[in-house]
């Protein structure tokens, strides 16, 4: 599935860049993140508990940042697997200044496999969108704090 959108964050571009590239603060924004370990430069291992209301699953996987062009853009690759299957996504993330604010534009593709794909199909796209919205909302509140 294709994921595309933008989110306006209440901070300057540099501040946003810093936050997104700081593993500790990133961990606090990743929805359901229970653990994040840095295993290399821009490479983290994560444990996430993702879900929507009654539906939930634990995933362990990795986050990688690449093609970094501070403070303009980077690529983010997330993958995780769990009993319910696997999730995999890659997105290009672009930061655009808008006065004191920053517009984050993302576009990428995500896929799910296993149980999630075969029985959760009708909910998956929305779940992915909601997870992203949650992520940016978390980033926004981190920036405000």
């Amino acid at each position: 599935m294709k994921l595309q959108g933008s989110y306006t964050l209440p901070a300057k571009r540099e501040a946003v860049w810093q936050l997104l590239n700081d593993p500790k603060r990133l961990a606090a924004c990743l929805p359901g993140c229970e653990q994040l370990d840095v295993v290399g430069s821009d490479h983290y291992l994560v444990r996430l508990k993702l879900g929507l209301a009654a539906i939930s699953g634990s995933f362990s996987g990795s986050v990688r940042l690449s093609d970094k062009k501070p403070p303009d853009s980077f690529r983010m690759n997330v993958e995780g697997r769990g009993a319910a299957g696997f999730v995999q996504g890659e997105a290009n993330i672009e930061l655009v200044s808008d006065g004191d604010q920053t517009v984050v534009r993302y576009s990428g593709v995500a896929s799910v496999g296993g149980l999630l794909a075969s029985v959760g199909n009708r909910m998956m796209e929305l779940a992915a969108r909601r997870t992203l919205e949650q992520f940016f909302a978390n980033v926004a509140s981190q920036l405000r704090a």
């Binding site: 697997r81 696997f86 896929s111 496999g113 296993g114 794909a117 075969s118 029985v119 009708r122």
Partner: protein, 795 residues
């Protein structure tokens, strides 16, 4: 020594039913053995990936877990999953029962867990950690052929499994002299068989006796036994296969599966009885799929509607590996592509291709529904192009009844038929003329009635051994007990078809007994002589004939004994009412049981006769049989929503002589409704990553009771000359005849919108799009929604 037909032809209610309607029958999952353990499989969530590592530590140490095994653990313990089909220059695609280095489809087993109960096994399976390196999946069969597409089997340079060609007559000349050439690309989508009973296997090994007993929900107990022995590398006499009650198959249990050989292996390896029961999800992922062919049909036609020639190119998506008959199925489409028409020149080219999906294989009809759909759709396209009635185009191209046996340019000999008669009967029964008038009237009101025809012929009674991958004969043994009760042992192991009844009817008539005197035994390799199985509408025509012939042997012997005792010519004796008597003087008689007793007591036997009363016959058919029929479907399309309402369905089938009309009706009804599933509802959808999106019944719709109107069935009877019973077979007729009738009806309903073809399933949204596009293009009728049939929805 004439045979009275007191039971053959009668709608006798089934002998198997009392146990089934009271919950007293036993399917595999109903079996429980002391110390039985349960197997759960860990399956790949990836369509295409390399296995990096498998960590079984956590699973292994979970309480209640007896063993956790991976492909590496099994390495030399067993062979590969068998494929019985062989085609020239066919590539092999050997599949280990548990994946070793790579996985090639979602659902492929990579590890297994054995535990004391099914809950523990399920829990522990979740603890097995598999790391994969995902590879690019190949999902679309057309793209699989493209240059640069990833290759599934790295030992080869591309994904082509085989190419197969067939040509008869002068095709070039036919197309050269045609007034028109009709062309259409058509898709026969991938289907999931969904037998109501998922697969299940129980295995038990007794080392003292060196006996491995495997209970499996299978259509082919003997072939399974041979293959289990081969895969496990043990003498065949070690293996004993039992198919107890089998809850439907439709071809999906005409196979040898990884789970069957693995569970058998585990029973020997671990020394405990093992059970595995498939979940519906596993059934969707890892039991064979059906159809999945893309065809390009070209018909060379004369202006008057005569078909001069046919070219057909078929791309068959075989999936990642072969199951038992995978490569063979599309060739059946090729052989039957001419349908019931006299087409003098034919060329068929088939390309089988590997993709990262479950294997396709024989699913009810196996190759023939595809052929029938392609040719029947094409005939409607011809009619539309030439502005002729579809019935007339068909009639014009039928061979005449006197031309049978009729040789097709694909090399088959159609045994007997009267296509004109079944078409006439179907048109009359449906009141075709009136329907057309009604259609015209409704169209003026903005309502879209569609009338669809299909005249079909199928190839059944599989078949002469020369044309079959593993023998086409069938066995029967008739064993009469000293008390005069009769066992009929058949190799045609049923799974719902009712052989216990139909074969008892044959036996009762031949021996002058009552059906209650007869027990039909099947599905146990230790009891029943080697047989082939029930599939390809072969049970009655081949299995029934074997029974018939074995019965005549027993009867001849009994007549000789009775003749000896009565001092009469055996040829003048009649078997009836549990007696053997002189035709000219019924008072001169012997009870059937007395004659039988004489065979065992062996004091009054004719000189030189061996005692006992048992006969076996292995029947080898000289040809296939070719049942046929004509179907008419009437639908209304709701132009607002695209919903299709099936209003009427008329089927006139000819399956030769009928043993039990009740059972024949049941087969026809079931086939039609399964076909309705393909036409309107069913499709196995894999996404671009090879994930099976229709992975449960929540997303894969099979017909429900309210999707179906009352079916109107009738028969013509053209006996087959191929076997003494004159039967042809009926198990697949409905599935073969109905799909094109239904789609032809939908396309006919949409004709005012300029629609000439529609791929299956005829989804609502697709129809809605076609109508909308036509309306946007202008000059097309605008319409109010359907009135009639509003509440009979094909959901």
């Amino acid at each position: 020594m004439a045979t009275a037909t007191r039971y053959i032809g009668r709608p006798l209610k089934r002998k198997e039913d009392p146990r089934l309607i009271q919950g007293l029958a036993h399917y595999v999952d109903d079996l429980r053995l002391p110390e039985m353990h349960y197997v759960a499989f860990v399956r790949s969530p990836h369509a295409h990936a390399r296995i990096r590592s498998i960590d079984t530590t956590r699973a292994q140490t979970a309480p209640g877990v007896l063993a956790v095994l991976t492909g590496q653990d099994l390495d030399k313990a067993m062979g590969v999953i068998p494929c019985a089909a062989q085609l020239p220059e066919m590539k092999l695609a050997l599949r280990p029962p548990l994946a070793k280095e790579r996985v090639l489809f979602v659902g492929e087993p990579v590890a297994l867990v054995v535990a004391a109960d099914r809950y523990t096994a399920r829990d522990a399976a979740e603890l097995v950690e598999v790391e994969y390196e995902p590879l690019t999946p190949v999902v679309d069969p057309e793209k699989a052929l493209a240059k640069g597409a990833p290759v599934l089997h790295p030992q080869y340079s591309d994904n082509v499994a085989y190419r197969w060609e067939l040509e008869g007559g002068d095709v070039k000349a036919a197309f050269a002299k045609a007034d028109k050439v009709i062309r259409q690309r058509m898709v026969n989508q991938r289907l999931i068989p969904v037998a109501m009973e998922p697969r299940a296997v129980v295995a038990d090994y007794q080392p003292g006796e060196n006996q491995l007993t495997v209970w499996s929900s299978t259509q082919i107990p003997h072939l399974l036994r041979t293959q289990i022995a081969a895969v496990l590398g043990v003498p065949e006499y070690v293996v004993h296969v039992i198919a107890p009650e089998v809850g439907g198959g439709f071809g999906s249990k005409l196979n040898v599966y990884a789970e069957e050989v693995l569970v058998a292996h585990l029973a020997m390896r671990l020394g405990k009885p093992m059970k595995w029961t498939e979940s519906r999800r596993e059934n969707f992922q890892a039991t064979i799929h059906g159809r999945d062919q893309i065809a390009t049909m070209e018909l060379a036609v004369r202006r008057d509607g005569t078909i001069l020639g046919l070219r057909c190119r078929i791309l068959a998506d075989l999936g990642a590996y072969y199951q038992l008959l995978t490569p063979l199925i599309p060739t059946l489409t090729g052989l039957m592509i001419c349908g019931c028409y006299k087409i003098p020149a034919v060329r068929v080219e088939i390309t089988g291709v590997f993709t990262n999906k479950m294997a396709t294989d024989a699913y009810r009809g196996a190759g023939r529904p595809e052929a029938t759909y392609f040719i029947e759709r094409a005939m409607d396209l011809v009619a539309a192009e030439l502005k002729k009635d579809p019935a007339e185009i068909r009639r014009k191209n039928f061979p005449q009844p006197k031309e049978f046996p009729y040789a097709t340019p694909t090399g088959l000999i159609y045994d007997s038929a009267n296509y004109q008669k079944s078409l006439d009967a179907a048109l009359k029964k449906s009141n075709y003329r009136k329907l057309r008038a009604q259609q015209a009237k409704l169209r003026r009101q903005g309502r879209y009635l569609g009338i669809g025809l299909s005249t079909y012929v199928e190839i059944c009674a599989m078949g002469p051994s020369s044309a079959m991958p593993a023998g086409g004969w069938e066995s029967a043994t008739v064993r009469v007990e000293p008390t005069g009760k009769v066992n009929v042992l058949t190799g045609a192991s049923p799974h719902g078809q009712g052989q216990e009844t139909s074969f008892a009817q044959i036996a009762a008539d031949l021996l002058g007994l009552e059906p209650d005197d007869i027990r039909v035994v099947h599905g146990d390799t230790a009891v029943v002589p080697y047989g082939i199985g029930t599939f390809g509408s072969r049970a009655t025509a081949v299995g029934g004939t074997a029974v018939y012939t074995a019965l005549t042997k027993v009867r001849d012997k009994l007549a000789a004994i009775a003749g000896h005792i009565l001092q009469e010519d055996p040829k003048r004796l009649v078997f009836r009412d549990r007696k053997i008597f002189l035709k000219s003087n019924p008072a001169k008689s012997l009870a059937f049981a007395e004659a039988v007793s004489a065979a065992y007591v062996a004091k009054t036997l004719p000189p030189g006769m061996e005692p006992g009363l048992e006969a076996t016959h292995f029947f080898e058919p000289s040809n296939f049989t070719f049942p046929f029929g004509a179907h008419v479907a009437v639908v209304e399309v709701d132009a607002e929503t695209g919903e299709v309402h099936l209003l009427r369905y008329v089927a006139v089938d000819d399956c030769g002589r009928v043993i039990n009309p009740l059972l024949v009706d049941g087969q026809v009804h079931g086939g039609i409704v399964q076909s309705l599933g393909q036409a309107f509802l069913e499709e196995a959808v894999y996404d671009e990553n090879g994930q099976l999106l229709t992975g449960e019944l929540t997303d894969y719709a099979i017909p429900r009771a309210w999707d179906v109107p009352r079916l109107e069935t009738a028969r013509t009877v053209t006996p087959s000359p191929v076997n003494p019973l004159g039967v042809k077979g009926v198990g697949e007729a409905g599935t073969i005849g109905a799909t094109p009738a239904l789609i032809n009806a939908v396309v006919d309903a949409l004709a005012p919108f300029g629609v000439r073809h529609l791929d299956m399933p005829a989804r609502r949204e697709r129809i809605w799009q076609l109508i909308r596009r036509a309306r946007q293009a202008g000059s097309r009728p605008t319409a109010r929604r359907a009135g009639a049939g509003r509440d009979r929805r094909v959901r």
